[in-house]
Symmetry: C2
Subunit: 485 residues, 2 copies
Amino acid sequence: MLKHAVPEAVRSAGIAPSDVIGIATDFTACTMIPTLADGTPLCELEPYRSEPHAYVKLWKHHSAQPHADRINALAHARGETWITRYGGLISSEWEFAKALQLLEEAPEIYAATERWVEAADWIVWQLCGNYARNACTAGYKGIYQDGQYPSREFLAELNPGFAEFVSEKLDQPIAQLGQAAGTLSATAASWTGLPEGIAVAVGNVDAHVTAPAACATEPGQLVAIMGTSTCHVMNHERLADVPGMCGVVDGGIIDGAWGYEAGQSGVGDILGWYVNTQVPERCVAAAAAAGLSVHQYLSNLGFAEPVGSHGLVALDWNSGNRSPLVDHELSGLLVGQTLTTRPEEIYRALVEATAFGTRAIVEAFNDSGVPVTEFIAAGGLLKNPQLMQCYSDVLNVPISTIGSAQGPALGSAIHAAVAAGAYPSVREAAAAMGKRNQAVYRPDPAAAAVYERLYAEYRILSDEFGRRPGLMHRLRQLKREAVAG
Amino acid sequence: MLKHAVPEAVRSAGIAPSDVIGIATDFTACTMIPTLADGTPLCELEPYRSEPHAYVKLWKHHSAQPHADRINALAHARGETWITRYGGLISSEWEFAKALQLLEEAPEIYAATERWVEAADWIVWQLCGNYARNACTAGYKGIYQDGQYPSREFLAELNPGFAEFVSEKLDQPIAQLGQAAGTLSATAASWTGLPEGIAVAVGNVDAHVTAPAACATEPGQLVAIMGTSTCHVMNHERLADVPGMCGVVDGGIIDGAWGYEAGQSGVGDILGWYVNTQVPERCVAAAAAAGLSVHQYLSNLGFAEPVGSHGLVALDWNSGNRSPLVDHELSGLLVGQTLTTRPEEIYRALVEATAFGTRAIVEAFNDSGVPVTEFIAAGGLLKNPQLMQCYSDVLNVPISTIGSAQGPALGSAIHAAVAAGAYPSVREAAAAMGKRNQAVYRPDPAAAAVYERLYAEYRILSDEFGRRPGLMHRLRQLKREAVAG
């Protein structure tokens, strides 16, 4: 990718390679690579080529759930203080769960692993020859809090063979975001066509770099990256206990501020599921005839009616609830169907449910002493104007939008500029390079008033069905038993 | 119809018209006709041809809901004892609501109406020249209880102009089911090709005649006529207060027994709504390729999996709930959806919900001192074997089925035979002519055990969402306000 995409990007930007003063990358996280001490991935070594565990474990790899469950149970049992920084729940996607799975399911691979590396850092390592562990993933995915990882005793209690995991395979000096990890090596210069010696920024994560890209670096500016799922990132000078955070990390988004990350595990995914499995052919055909996506066709129809006219309310939990309830055993709910309920009405109810879910997160921030002062939208769902207006009406606040269709790339460019010394800080680079359109969507007071009442019903359902254990958990248990036979 | 269908039926039965000793009819109810004193429908008179209110009001005509609401409110306010025989709710479909609407919306038609006649009786009147008011519709639809109708004072309080409705337009000697209303007139004999002078039975209702057709005349034998909606009819020697009855009528099904009628307002209708509005083209195409209806295709797939494996539970209230909650403001609910939930899983959950709804009705009978001793299925849904097995598993009882594909016609033939004197009573005629296959479906103990747990969840949802007023009522109110603008 570096060999083709970088030269092509330079060419299409109409600049000379020599104009480039620095490079930065962002990555999906948590994506882990087992390597030798020099960064060589085990999967590239002959003895391990046919061993699945020697390969990259993508962020969406969830098979370490039993290991995550044990980490969580033990953390709560021991009263580990770091667990509260993660809403009480370490994800199966993250560094420790994946490593514990590796130890227990492929001990020889675990033994051969000299470094357990975030891909976000690995690629930087390839560019500059230096392994700089970025503060963002170390904090959000690596349980690095207040200058330390989970203790040797904690790890040993999980599995005696895991006791030295941090000291032997994980620990690495932490580099702050916006710093230079090093300079572009001769080899990497030859791959990319960029000048040798330019700054290579510390690695970073796609969602988190979007905040400076949207010029959202001040306390209370919440950036929602809305796509298949939604990730909410916000800086604040205060450390607060906000229910259901994915993580709160010092310098996790901007060096010098507490970075808050919240999430809705299903947003566009729920709409996609509905469109793919629950929409009749006549809607698909009508959308095609109108030259619209099915999503846009259903949005046009559904949002043409007055708020509340469908008589429906839904919970947006088809993929569980990350924030604020932190419960992946939860599931979807739709209430109010009659014999005349139409597909576009259900589609709209699902869109509204995701907006209600966002509002619950915003309220969790507001109620915890780190209030949201501006709501900024980014991501693929920006392209649906009815959905965006619905969010503004439901939240009853104006919605700003990111001014770039390539938010993460712009965010990385900001980090590269800082690493190269063009700006003294990410905050100042963001002010100069970030792009935000303020208050693009403004709430309609009449719609907002009706949504207030619908949201009250959402909260009643949320309180009722979000209780643990409850009906949704029993349905999951029945499902597990049925599938197990 | 009489001029074509009757001769054709005799012909295809391979009998001579002279073999026929009596005729009986059944009708949908409550279907009302405004007539002159001689039975001439007003709509056939020149001055009224263009007046909609002069025409037949079919059972499914619901625009008299405001009038029904007033009847119910006043009945409860005055403590009328008859209201409890109808689960506390007179339907907008029935005789009094439709008549009050006629009075108030078309007073000149009301004034011209000399008789307000059930179509079930009107057709018998045409056949024999005698207006015999049958005990079934008089009780179930005409609020005739313990030998009287709602009082003059009650009617006057609804509307002073309604005070003499019973005495002037409705009252007529009551004829018991199985009696002869008269004999076939010369005119009717010429229409039908049947012998003049044969017995014409008292009119009856399609659902209610099905009980003797299924040879189900003993106390506790419940016949469920399962179609777009489900009607449950059962005889018992005891008068009991069963929650949510559509009606309890002395001699309403069989002369000499209390006839109980309960109902599920949406069953096949809910499945039809789902198939028509929520099923993607690939399922429709696969069903067509397999030569199956979409219903059967989804049933085959959905019921191939173990009970509970879909992780779903639904409420069958998309068309409200008649029995046992008597609340048409209720609506549907589905809970447990994930991003992998498939159409056939939702279809199955909806089928199960209707089975749970039936169980709630059976339990209401059992808990009220008039227990169900045999569950007998009739109607269009019989053709779906997975659905029938599901009902058996959910109810955890064997299910018998009616032995005729023409249940109402057979039931009417039984009444004709009694009216003609071939049998001394409907009970004895049913024993000879009725057809029932006993215990065709038997519960699978393992499935029944899991359904027990799913039904417990259904009851939790039912208790929570069935409360009045509740979330579903507020959603209806929002809908009304939104539609009203």
